[in-house]
């Protein structure tokens, strides 16, 4: 098997003394593939992505067994070296494009800045490249859009601009944090198709963070299900949806209403309780308080189960 483009092992993130948001996350993203990290709010999925990019807020501490990008360990890279990498070989897009685009600059000038920063490209050439990419992400009249400000664009257009901007330096890895959550379903489908098309064309590796199991099912090659700072289960998308092994994954799948699947009047499956806050030093299964099958030994060390075919899960109970 070829080495993964991004290979993270044992990632931990702490905020102060009381909160451990990410507890030993390992995941790998292969070239040309999409790895989805799915979970509910507060499970640590966005923090994991930010940690990989070195974008954590001050006050957060990050440790990892290793964090390799294209074979190079980036765990202890200097801020300057990271800055050279970010926006160049690895790029990130966020949920709310309005807050990540600069409202005071035109689309064209902020896009051209990416190239001038990383490559020293003159603005004129940067604008040409920007126009070319805007056309590639399906924006009609790119010349007009270059001169506009973010507030003059609709949500779907802004998200396309974000994607185009992330592509300015031909990144190898794209980290997308809830890229379609703020969009209408019709636009969501368009944006996801766009990402798939770009992946095929450019061989992009995509790490996609989402809470939406529908998005995961339709776009992921691999899936990691996160809960309370841990990856509870990881498998290929086909395998995960066909035979979820962890009680949390099973519960999550039962919660999603599927048209034509559950009769009206029948209750949806639901998971009682809420996601716990985990302090450093927590032991045992983070899901045990909400798990219908929890046993006393779930408070002890939890074994990782592996079927040898890439389907892993963290659970004490027999599969």
């Amino acid at each position: 098997m070829p080495e993964a483009l991004l290979d993270v092992a044992g990632l931990r993130v702490r905020f102060g003394r009381d909160v451990e948001a990410v507890r030993g996350v390992s995941l790998a993203v292969e070239r040309g593939q999409t790895h989805c990290v799915v979970g509910e709010s507060g499970c640590g999925k966005s923090v994991s992505a930010l940690a990989v990019m070195g974008l954590l807020a001050r006050g957060a501490t990050r440790t990892a067994t290793h964090m390799r990008f294209d074979g190079q360990d980036i765990t202890d890279l200097s801020e300057r070296a990271l800055q050279a990498l970010r926006g160049d070989r690895m790029a990130m897009i966020f949920q709310e494009p309005m807050t990540s685009l600069n409202p005071a600059y035109t689309v064209g000038s902020q896009m051209a800045e990416v190239l001038s920063r990383h490559r020293g490209t003159p603005k004129r050439l940067g604008l040409e490249r920007a126009a070319e990419l805007l056309a590639k992400v399906g924006i009609t009249a790119p010349g007009l859009r270059l001169g506009q400000y973010p507030h003059q664009l609709s949500g779907g257009l802004r998200q396309r601009v974000m994607i185009a901007m992330a592509l300015m330096c031909d990144p190898e890895l794209l980290i997308a944090d809830e890229p379609t959550t703020a969009l209408d379903v019709t636009v969501q489908a368009q944006i996801l198709r766009l990402l798939q098309g770009l992946q095929r064309e450019l061989g992009l590796a995509i790490l996609l963070i989402t809470h939406d199991l529908g998005v995961v099912a339709r776009i992921a090659h691999k899936v990691s299900v996160m809960y309370a700072g841990e990856v509870l289960e990881s498998a290929s998308a086909a395998d995960l949806f066909a035979s979820p092994r962890h009680p949390y994954t099973q519960g999550l799948l039962a919660c999603v209403p599927v048209p034509g699947r559950i009769r009206r009047g029948d209750p949806l499956g639901s998971i009682p309780g809420t996601v716990p806050r985990i302090a450093p030093g927590f032991t045992g299964c983070g899901f045990r308080d909400r798990c219908a099958f929890a046993r006393p030994d779930c408070a002890g060390a939890i074994a990782q189960r592996d079927d040898g075919l890439g389907h892993r899960h963290l659970c004490q109970l027999a599969a």
Binding site: G214, A217, P259, P267
Partner: protein
């Protein structure tokens, strides 16, 4: 039987000032909408952002006056009712349980507010509040906390308790689960369905999530740029959508079924501008099956086998 809610040719126009020297823009957020909701049933309203579904909710709740047309609630004109009478009959549940609850009031006082407004006091008020908090599944002891100490799901339960404490006959829910996680969303949907059955509530359920609407509604209405373009019983609408826009919306629902890929919705990039509504059929610039006449002739609601649709081609 009198409809619980009857909306007759209702229009709401907003004036949007764009600057000192430019002319105001007029936005017809709701444009000649008519429908009725049977007592005890649930009408789901779906559509993209900006289609006017939230404005419609506010009109039905009496929080905004109509520009023209009229709304009857329980056979009486909404415009003739005072705030108190309206509050006893119809109550809202909004999307964001973080901003719809006063952060400085205790849960007990938040839920008691509608009772207080109706002049219900003392032991009776306390009893009704406690009863309702139990009914929506909140643990005891939560009554004296502040909203910030509650999770999103618990806050939405508080919002539901506040809406139901007066025992209204009608509840209008505007995206009640959109801000919640899936596992919590399922809890809230189950609660709403239960309460609806138990209390015989009439519900208007507004959401952009078609799967959620399918699960909870008896009938579904589809809105596009201020018009209601299709209405039908839920099963019919999902099995046999008539309007091209309804078809596109249904096609874009991503069910958790791997291997199906991301559908090509075929709507193009032209996003509608509510201040600049296209001529003819307002959907024609994005419609995958539009013909030349669609840009000229304006469609009117037409009775079809499953319900009502507004398309020249059906």
């Amino acid at each position: 039987m009198t409809a619980a809610i009857e909306v007759r040719d209702v229009t709401r126009v907003f004036r949007q000032g764009t600057g000192v020297f430019s002319a105001d823009r007029h936005i017809r957020a709701v444009d000649g909408v008519s429908f009725a909701v049977e007592p005890g049933s649930c009408l789901g309203i779906v559509g993209e952002s900006g289609c006017g579904k939230s404005t419609l909710a506010r009109l039905i709740l009496g929080l905004l006056p109509v520009s023209s047309g009229e709304i009857l609630v329980d056979g009486k004109r909404l415009a003739d009712m005072d705030g108190k009478a309206r509050a006893r009959l119809i109550q809202p549940v909004f999307q964001d349980p973080f901003s719809s609850l006063n952060p400085r009031r205790r849960i007990r006082d938040i839920v008691a507010l509608p009772l207080q407004a109706q002049g219900i006091t003392g032991a009776e008020r306390t009893r009704l509040v406690d009863e309702m908090l139990v009914r929506v599944g909140l643990p005891g002891g939560i009554a004296d906390r502040l909203p910030a100490q509650l999770s999103g799901g618990q806050r939405q339960r508080v919002a539901i308790a506040r809406a139901l404490v007066l025992r209204p006959r009608i509840v209008v829910c505007d995206e009640p689960t959109s801000a919640l996680d899936v596992s919590v969303q399922a809890q809230i949907l189950n609660l709403l369905a239960e309460l609806q059955r138990e209390l015989g509530l009439t519900t208007v359920f507004i959401s952009h999530n078609l799967a959620v609407v399918e699960h909870i509604s008896d009938r579904v209405a589809v809105m596009y740029l201020g018009r209601m373009v299709e209405q039908a019983a839920t099963d019919d609408l999902f099995a046999r959508p008539a309007h091209p826009y309804t078809k596109a919306l249904l096609a874009s629902v991503l069910t958790p079924e791997p291997g199906l890929g991301v559908p090509d919705v075929g709507l193009g990039d032209l996003y509608p501008d509510p201040a600049n509504i296209p001529t003819g059929c307002r959907f024609h610039p994005r419609c995958p099956v539009a013909e030349a006449r669609c840009a000229v002739a304006t469609p009117v609601p037409k009775v079809i086998a499953t319900g009502v649709a507004e398309c020249l081609l059906t």
